[in-house]
Amino acid sequence: MKHLLATDGLEPALATAVLDTADELKRTLLGREVRKLPTLRGRTVITLFYENSTRTRVSFEIAGKWMSADVINVSSSASSVSKGESLRDTALTLAAAGADCVIIRHPASGAAQRLAGWLDEAGTAVVNAGDGMHEHPTQALLDAATLRERLGTLDGRRVAIVGDVLHSRVARSNIHLLTALGAEVVLVAPPTLLPPGVEALPVTVSHELDAELPGVDAVMMLRVQAERMHGGFFPSAREYSIAYGLSEQRLKMLPEHAVVLHPGPMLRGMEIASAVADAPSSAITEQVRNGVHVRMAVLYHLLAGEDEK
């Protein structure tokens, strides 16, 4: 693996290998007091974030540090792109300064792929930590890791992705990865929050959450991304919550073994009831925990792995 830019087109065998590595790392570190592996000693990992983020950035930073890489965080407000240094110049600067891996989050779809193109010659690996409305592949990998852990396998399992699919890079990455790993995906959203041309995706579509819940093994609630809205996608937060929120009553409609996921940050009371977020079927904190191991695995496959070398 040279870069991780998207789950669209990611070989299922490679995805599985990353997930297996994550499991192994998790087992290795379990119960250890000093959670530090020497694997990436002397390697330099830079996080380059053009959008605010808590969990993703922290998760990558911890992943790098637990593997003994030198991790440097660079922040830039999105607006400085138009005013100041170009993304290309920033990328070349970081590569010249010695970055072995650049982890980028950027509001423009495709920014990670462009970056990979510019850094190809320097041999710097690029990880997409979220690009616009395109993809967030490590989120999908950590979701898959969590589901595998809870459900044993993804093969033949049915997962509902609920909410603002239109603007969600998490949804796009999950659709590709989960279906590649053998799961069925049903998207549940109002028509205004589904991507145009959704029928071309390997999914089914529903506007009725209640009808879907009894038949799924997992439900993934998406945040309603208010900051992306140009308005008018649904009449009111209340109507949205009534139609598409995961309430306590709805939790009871799920099969007993079913898992509740949320990529965070949650809007408690909007798309997910507070009691549901904290219920035993919720795997939300496990997602965060697995996120570190999955990102360690990604860095391992990019910087130390033997595959595709």
């Binding site: 138009s82 509001p107 423009a108 145009p196 071309a200």
Partner: protein, 430 residues
């Protein structure tokens, strides 16, 4: 000084004939002995057509002389077979007054490689709020007869209505960039499967079609002339067909760009902004309908929307990149590839869509004329059997943002004459 073009096939039809050009006019056609001072060009059976007319060119001067100048853009035009181009108003300062349009017109005359006709802005500063001084620009030395806010849509229906009404007294045409701005906030690519997969905010077909439908109705009620810029969707073709049937000839006209005839949104997966253009590349189905509509005459003509951008405005992330593509030097070849090679148009048809109809729409009396004795010698000679490989760095434009980089295309312009004077020959100026 005269030029004898020996053995050319007029409109690619019939046997080769000699065409003598003298004093800016076609002075003889047939079997002609060269006068002593004549420069003789051996056409060897190539296709002779009236010089091309581009209703939609961005020459970037004044304001962005790092992307293109009137001189370099004129050179690209001459090399592409053009004898007249219309320079869009979105310069800096905007061509919304007589001073700027006269400046552009004068710089075009000084350069002398192609007739440069400035397009005047419809509204002050392209803001869509207040009519620019259309009458003053029409009466200026530039004699502006086409007005457009291109790059922006005249979205306010009342402003558009007034512009159409007012233009009728000037014998002018309003050229609309049809894009309902409320439907394209943040839009980056054609709304559909591919944009959804790649995470681009969608530019829906309905944003174009709804404005075209509205404007056709406004133009009809005003008795005004409307020209629809860069038609990009199958739905717009249907609206145009309906409006033209309803209103009769002479009121509604439309153009299509070469890139919308050839390229589709399948190209966007690389995220390379060389493919970013407004309106966006559409689907293969749209491109097929646009080709058919051009052949049929529902779309009147080809216009390049030649839009040079310096490298820093393209070598960046998609969302930050400027929309637009070079087009002047590749238009004939793309039309050859999409329309001639496919049998949709013969060379007489190419003359219609690249020269005669645009000259009529813009009201140019000396362009797009028949190839007969006594007519102005605005001519282009095309080698229909040759092909060439496009290299952005080798094009005459200052910028190099061609989406056809590395593509091998048929149809080569070998000679361009502006009023009897050679402006381009075998890929070289003059």
């Amino acid at each position: 000084m005269s030029v004898l073009i020996r053995g050319a096939r007029l409109y690619g039809e019939g046997d080769p004939v000699d065409v003598l050009v003298a004093d800016g006019l076609i002075s003889a056609i047939g079997s002609v002995e060269p006068p002593e001072d004549a420069e003789v060009i051996d056409a060897a059976g190539q296709v002779l057509l009236p010089g091309f007319v581009d209703l939609h060119t961005h020459l970037r001067e004044p304001g962005r002389e790092d992307a293109e100048t009137i001189e370099t853009g004129s050179a690209a035009a001459a090399l592409g077979g053009y004898t007249a181009v219309f320079a869009m108003a979105n310069t800096d300062p905007v061509a919304d007054n007589a001073v700027v349009v006269e400046h552009v017109w004068r710089r075009g005359r000084e350069t002398g490689l192609v007739d440069v006709h400035p397009v005047g802005a419809v509204t002050v500063g392209l803001n869509g709020e207040k009519l620019a001084e259309l009458g003053t620009m029409a009466k200026s030395a530039a004699g502006v007869r086409m007005f457009s806010d291109d790059g922006h849509c005249v979205a306010d229906p009342l402003i558009m209505r007034r512009a159409l009404e007012y233009s009728t007294a000037l014998n002018a045409v309003i050229a609309q960039h049809a894009e309902e701005p409320r439907l394209t906030v943040g839009a980056q690519a054609h709304e559909g499967e591919i944009a959804s997969r790649l995470g681009y905010a969608g530019w829906p077909a309905s944003a174009e079609e709804s404005i075209v439908a509205r404007d056709c109705l406004l133009a009809q009620h005003a008795g005004a002339r409307l020209h629809v810029c860069h038609v990009s969707t199958a739905g717009t073709v249907d609206v145009l067909r309906w409006a033209k049937n309803r209103q009769g000839p002479g009121f509604i006209s439309a153009e299509v760009t070469p890139h919308h005839l050839l390229l589709t949104d399948e190209r966007l997966a690389t995220y390379d902004p060389v493919n970013k253009v407004n309106p966006p590349l559409r689907t293969g189905g749209d491109a097929a309908r646009l080709r058919a509509a051009l052949a049929e005459g529902v779309i009147d003509c080809v216009a390049t929307d030649h839009a040079p951008h310096p490298v820093q405005d393209k070598d960046c992330e998609w969302a930050a990149a400027k929309p637009g593509m070079l087009g002047l030097q590749t238009a004939l070849s793309v039309v050859t590839e999409t329309m001639v090679a496919t049998g949709l148009l013969d060379w007489r048809g190419v003359a219609r869509v690249m020269s005669e109809r645009p000259a009529e729409i813009a009201g140019l009396p000396d362009q797009g004329r028949p190839l007969v004795t006594g007519e102005p010698a605005n001519l282009v000679l095309v080698d229909p059997d040759a092909a060439w490989t496009v290299r952005g760095a080798e094009l005459a434009s200052l910028a190099a943002n061609t989406p056809y980089e590395g593509m091998r295309l048929p149809g080569v312009v070998t000679l361009t004459l502006l009023r009897g004077r050679i402006t381009a020959r075998e890929g070289k100026i003059g």
